[in-house]
């Protein structure tokens, strides 16, 4: 039974049209998202790993190496079951930094565009055999289907034209569905769904072959068992082959393939949108591969039993021919076709992205016209590369003449990509590795691989390989082990012997941490998001720059007028990651460093606390043990800090606000989310001025600062400290404590007023008596006036009345002045005051209190001394101090008021010979409600108010006691006030 070429061509076209249709329907959303986005679709798309090697080559592996063929699947199975070892760390890196290929990852880790270029070139070279393998599987299948199996390797009869047609259709498919998105990191839904569909087709076809082999050849599973018992040598081959050292080599080879092969990498990372899908793949892909591998042994044994002349790889097709079954032949052909097409499509797509990002763009970026649509230019470049790569694979296939078995081609390709494994493992696990080591290792390993594996494929050249394994017939296994050992040895040796750049160390730290970014607070050269577009337009053109910045802003949910340094740093990182997906990490790094650099000369070792907190908050559920305890401790302290009843804010050296707790929000009315990460200058007035001035000032505390804003006035006290101990090395943060003392201040003012009223009350009787005397005098003079006719006497009497009236006026005026002091909403009106006059006025007021002890006040102040004070408040100070002095004295007590200049201040001593103040009381007398008087004799507020008033006026007060020995130790209260004058004109 055979098929005509037209039938085969029709079959291929029909199958690939079906593939196009699935991709188209998925892209258009006609296939619902619950299917295209289902984790099963992602898992099935990873079945791309099972190329023609799985459907055809595995048969030869099973034939030659028994159960060792399982290692082809086992390597991938172990890689996915232990995904947390390599796959998850790589997925984190790829997702955060928009890395889409192994070259991207290693370029990012080793910070060298050259690494990317070398890996891309090496990857293209190592994958030529893999592409040739796929094309050869299809070409050979066509040959067999066309009934020309006998001349399979005869060049003149090969149907390479149909293989070329197959390549062309595949190229068109890759171009149409693999380049729909600009970024390599965006999911190509149509492509993923089509590859998943191919995996299903492949599995179904293999199961058809399994049933055909078991029931068609052996008559059932019992027949298989019986046949195996009749052929015990097969059982021995199965078991003993796995004990060979080649099995270990195969395991390493295919384990590495799961992460180093670009098509697996692309599907696993670039097309992944949710880490949960990868979690599903940890059991889903092993299950799929197990099902796919089930038919291999029965099919191989069926091939052996049938004794056909075809290579064992094509036992499926041989089975169809022997059974004269179109369905079985078609199933065998479709299995190979679907496996080969999926591998070619994804491999060339992944390689095209690598070539674009690491070969074309770094060298020819300047040739891309930023004024034209940059996305369209990139898309066409990618399409051209896909076409070129498929043509290269086809040319390699033609060059080989079909002389190599599928297994040979597969082993060469896998052993080539194995050379990248040391770099991949070092990425998350060895921060000490550097680019020189990687390049040395790769150069050594790949050179050995080239001469020992690749070159012998296409020529008669054969590198003499020592027989390491001692079996004499596994040349490839020895070559693989030697190349990998040389590679790893050189990598380690050179990395240890050479220095690592600072850039590499940072990247190594990023890659080796669980968290994928190293939050460092650095100052950007641009100040707003709009400046980003302007700067980026130099490299990307105005339109593309705007699109990219807006996209990053939307992803981060920032507004277009964003100006917070913290937000701008995140924006820079996001734009860079997005550009990395579009242009590759090397070009993205170059553009960002050029257009949006950090400011030079500013120390940058301060960590971005806010970003660290955000990241820790997101991953906290993963912590266990001591890490979880530390995280709980961090949360506890943070909550304590946030809930403190006192405002706490932390400001970086560059003026960025790092911490703003809830009390700060309550005091200022500014929410933490609005201000954290912003510059201090963005705070509204008056807070910017108050906090900024205090931060810049030398003083470590600022008591009682009045805040005048739009709302009611409030009072705060500020304290600050410098965070960090190594201030000479690192920039430091300033921690500012803001205490809301508004209530205390209002209470104090109320108490002041009450105290004043109490004083007025105490003075009232004296005032009445004092006013009574002149009133009596005026009454007498008025009576005399009634009878007086002498104008001269009348005039004298009038003058006397006026004198008495003036005396009353003075008394009333003193009282009014005293009662008004401090009542003008707390405003302190500093002006030059004559000290002696003020003391006189106070003595006069105190003299109005007739019930008080008659002590002698001696004002010895220089009449010329002028202080800077609020006269009415100063009056209150002296009334309180002199009143206290009087109360402390006996009836024959004396109170001396002395004043002298000291520097720019005037020092006033009020000294009495009273009972003194006990030493244990002296430290507390300026506190409210502390008194040495008998209960009911004083409120305990006098000295507290004196302290408060003097503090407002920039003065101070202190006391000392005792002054003398004996029963009257006395007390000296010292007041210090700034000296002043009435001005030059007045002095003159």
């Amino acid at each position: 039974m055979s098929f005509s070429l037209a039938q085969i061509l029709l079959f291929i076209v029909a199958y690939l049209t079906g593939l196009f249709t699935v991709a188209y329907l998925a892209d258009r959303g006609i296939i619902p998202e619950r299917i295209t986005r289902h984790p099963a679709t992602y898992v099935l798309s990873l079945g791309v790993f099972a190329g023609a090697m799985a459907t055809n080559g595995a048969l030869e592996l099973a034939y030659s190496y028994g159960y060792s063929f399982l290692l082809y699947y086992g390597g991938v199975v172990f890689m996915f079951i232990f995904a947390a070892l390599l796959l998850l760390p790589l997925l984190r890196l790829c997702r955060v930094y928009q890395l889409a290929s192994l070259a991207d990852v290693l370029t990012f880790r080793f910070r060298s565009p050259r690494i990317g270029a070398i890996i891309t070139i090496a990857m293209c070279l190592t994958l030529l055999p893999l592409l040739a393998l796929q094309i050869q599987a299809v070409a050979d299948s066509i040959q067999i289907m066309a009934g020309d199996a006998g001349n399979l390797f005869a060049q003149e009869n090969r149907q390479d034209g149909l293989a070329l047609l197959f390549c062309i259709i595949i190229t068109v498919f890759s171009m149409l569905f693999g380049t729909r998105h600009n970024s390599a990191q965006e999911r190509n839904t149509g492509l993923v769904t089509a590859i998943a569909f191919e995996s299903l087709v492949k599995l179904a076809a293999m199961f058809v072959l399994l049933l055909a082999a078991v029931y068609g050849v052996f008559g059932g599973f019992d027949g298989v068992e019986q046949w195996l018992h009749q052929n015990p040598q097969l059982g021995n081959t199965l078991n003993h082959s796995l004990h060979d050292n080649t099995a270990r080599t195969l395991l390493v080879l295919f384990f590495a393939g799961a992460v180093c092969m670009p098509h697996i990498f692309h599907m696993a990372f670039a097309e992944n949108t949710d880490s949960r899908d990868l979690r599903t793949a940890t059991w889903g892909l092993p299950l799929y591969l197990m099902l796919l591998s089930l038919p291999i042994l029965p099919l191989t044994w069926a091939g052996i039993k049938l004794g056909h002349q075809l290579p064992i790889d094509y036992s499926g097709l041989a089975l169809g021919l022997e059974m004269h079954s179109t369905a079985v032949s078609a199933a065998a052909f479709v299995a190979g076709l679907s496996a080969a097409s999926a591998t070619i499509i994804i491999t060339t797509l992944a390689l095209a992205n690598m070539c674009l990002n690491h070969l074309i763009l770094p060298s020819r970026l300047s040739q891309i016209d930023p004024e034209r649509n940059i996305y369209a230019q990139l898309k066409w470049l990618r399409r051209t590369l896909i076409g070129t790569l498929i043509v290269a694979g086809y040319m390699f296939f033609i060059a080989l003449n079909g002389t190599q078995s599928l297994t040979q081609l597969g082993l060469v390709a896998f052993s080539g990509t194995l050379q990248f494994l040391p770099g991949v493992i070092a990425t998350p696990y060895w921060p000490g590795a550097n680019r020189k080591g990687l390049m040395a290792g790769l150069a050594t390993g790949l050179t050995f691989w080239f001469f020992s594996m690749l070159l012998p494929l296409a020529s008669n050249f054969a590198l003499p390989i020592p027989d390491l394994l001692g079996d004499g017939n596994t040349h490839w296994s020895d070559a693989i082990l030697i190349s990998l050992s040389l590679n790893t040895g050189m990598f380690i040796l050179v990395s240890l012997l050479t220095s690592t750049s600072a850039d590499e160390r940072i990247a190594a730290e990023i890659c080796s941490m669980d968290d994928t970014s190293r939050p460092v607070r650095r100052v950007l050269s641009v100040r707003t998001a709009s400046e980003f577009s302007a700067q980026l337009s130099k490299a990307l053109g105005e339109k593309t720059a705007r699109v990219e910045v807006n996209r990053a802003l939307a992803e981060l949910q920032f507004s277009p007028d964003e100006a917070r340094p913290y937000a701008l740093r995140r924006l820079r990182a996001r734009v860079r990651a997005n550009l990395s997906g579009l242009l590759g990490p090397a070009v993205a790094h170059s553009i960002i460093e050029r257009c949006i650099p950090f400011q030079q000369g500013i120390q940058d070792s301060t960590e971005d606390i806010h970003l660290i907190e955000r990241k820790l908050d997101r991953v906290q559920t993963k912590f266990t043990g001591l890490t979880a305890d530390l995280d709980n401790l961090r949360r506890h302290y943070r909550e304590t800090l946030h809930n403190l009843p006192i405002g706490v804010c932390s400001i970086g050296d560059d003026g960025e606000i790092l911490l703003w707790n809830r009390s700060m929000e309550k005091i200022t009315g500014i929410a933490p989310r609005d201000v954290i990460g912003s510059l201090l200058g963005s705070l509204p007035l008056p807070w910017y001025q108050i906090i900024g001035d205090f931060q810049q000032g030398d003083s470590h505390s600022q008591l009682k600062t009045e805040v005048v804003g739009n709302g009611p006035p409030c009072w705060i006290s500020l304290h600050k400290t410098i965070a960090g101990t190594d201030t000479e090395v690192r920039p430091t943060d300033t921690v500012i404590l803001v205490e809301d003392i508004t209530e205390l201040e209002l209470l104090e003012k109320e108490l002041l007023h009450n105290e004043r009223l109490a004083s007025i009350g105490r003075l009232a009787a004296g005032v009445a008596h004092e006013i009574g005397n002149p009133v009596t005098g005026i009454a007498c003079l008025a009576q005399n006036l009634e009878y007086e006719s002498d104008p001269q006497e009348i005039r004298f009497t009038a003058v006397d009345i006026l004198k008495q009236t003036e005396r009353i006026n003075r008394i009333v005026e003193s009282l009014v002045n005293f009662s008004h002091a401090g009542s003008r909403s707390g405003e302190v009106n500093l002006e030059p005051c004559n000290l002696a006059d003020c003391v006189d006025e106070s003595i006069h007021l105190l003299g109005l209190d007739r019930k008080a002890r008659p002590v002698e006040f001696r004002n010895q102040c220089d009449r010329e001394l002028v202080v800077l004070a609020d006269s009415q408040r100063l009056l209150q100070v002296f009334v309180n101090l002199l009143g206290n002095a009087r109360d402390a004295c006996d009836s024959d007590g004396q109170v001396d008021i002395l004043a002298k200049c000291r520097g720019g201040d005037v020092v006033i001593d009020i000294q009495d010979n009273g009972c003194g103040i006990p030493p244990d009381m002296q430290a507390h007398v300026f506190e409210p409600f502390v008194t040495t008087k008998d209960p009911g004799a004083g409120t305990g507020l006098g000295l507290s108010l004196v302290f408060s008033i003097l503090d407002d006026m920039g003065g101070s007060v202190s006391l000392s006691s005792p002054l003398f020995e004996g029963p009257h130790p006395g007390t000296r209260v010292t007041v210090q006030l700034p000296r002043s004058s009435y001005g030059d004109a007045f002095e003159a």
């Binding site: 159960y67 997702r95 949710d274 059991w283 993963k622």
Partner: protein
């Protein structure tokens, strides 16, 4: 790099017991599909291991 302790334990157990498991699988008198039984067991273990994961943890 933080590695889950359970994962390290699993790798350790795998290395230690692999010769014994290999012996059990490839005993000459056993059925040909015995490796697949172990494979299925691994799939079940992997399924059990991933089922209690958190939402997209990246």
């Amino acid at each position: 790099m933080y590695i889950n302790r359970a994962l390290l334990l699993a790798v350790g157990v795998f290395i230690i017991f692999s010769p014994a498991v290999e012996e059990w699988i490839f005993h000459s008198t056993t059925v040909w599909y015995r490796p697949y039984q172990l494979w299925l067991l691994l799939v079940a273990a992997a399924y059990w291991n991933q089922r209690s994961r958190y939402p997209d943890e990246l």
